[in-house]
């Protein structure tokens, strides 16, 4: 295994972005970052800035108003970058689907690597999604 890939898999730093959800998913994301679930055993820590992060934890429906801001923040992340769409809202629009001011899923706006279903998903599901992302990276993407 080459050393860059090894380092990437061992330290996927995350940052959290709410594109317009109800805060249900955000609470679960925060819960999954606490010591009880110990996501740091995968080398993950929360960063405050997209410039320091490899993985974006995207929650909530992408609204038309936030679309341009989301793209700008996504572009600020350093390559290689990955996006986890957390919750039904980020996957498909969820309960807000077919509303006049939202997109049907974050993948209409930015590329998404892992989808975590649930409204909201449990911390275990979010951690499972993170592990799936790491497996995807280990397999060589």
């Amino acid at each position: 295994m080459d050393i860059i890939k090894w380092a990437r898999i061992k330290s996927p730093w995350v940052f959290h972005f709410n594109a317009g959800g109800c805060n249900g998913c955000d609470i679960e994301v925060l819960a999954s970052l606490i010591p009880r679930y110990d996501i740091e055993r995968f080398g993950m820590i929360l960063r405050g800035s997209p410039r320091h992060a490899d993985v974006m934890l995207l929650t909530g429906t992408v609204t038309r108003q936030i679309k341009d801001r989301l793209i700008r923040i996504y572009e600020q992340m350093a390559e290689p970058k990955f996006v986890m769409a957390i919750g039904s809202c980020a996957m498909s629009g969820g309960v807000f689907q077919n509303c006049y001011s939202v997109y049907e899923g974050a993948d209409k706006v930015i590329p998404v690597d892992v989808y975590v279903p649930g409204c909201p998903p449990r911390p275990q599901a979010i951690i499972d999604g993170a592990v799936k992302l790491l497996q995807k990276l280990a397999a060589g993407k």
Partner: protein
Amino acid sequence: MLSDISKEQEIVNNLKDKFGDKIIEAKVQSARRVFVTIDSKSLIKVTKFLAKEKNYTHVATISGLDLVKNLAVIYHLREYHSKEQFITLSLKVEVAKDKPKLPTIITIIPGAELYEREVHDLFGIVFEGHPDLSPLILPEHWPSGVYPLRKEYKLEDIKTKIEKVKK
């Protein structure tokens, strides 16, 4: 206590005595809940009476309603004087859809400013005398003249219109 609706009845009677046939309908729905429908021309007078003399100084929210031929605006007013009992009075006015204009009530109840802007965004009702009716909650680059909560706008139409504005 709950079945005692004398205060509610009193405000309904006061309104009927003072404004007569300007009050289209006034009824006590239940304890602490009063519904009043009035002629849109007497909106300012009735609101002034309620705010200045009856202490209905707080507007909880303003909702819009599409009645297909007409639009309606409902002002949910709350009184603030008695500690034991708050009456919520829903004041409903109807306006014609082709000329949706109402006077603003922010000279009487300043808290109505943002709610009026919201109703203007979503239903296209123009509140005359309002200082700033620019979009409040609709996204940027929203096509002008599209009011998403009106019944005649289908989701597909709105989407094609948004696409047009982008180009």
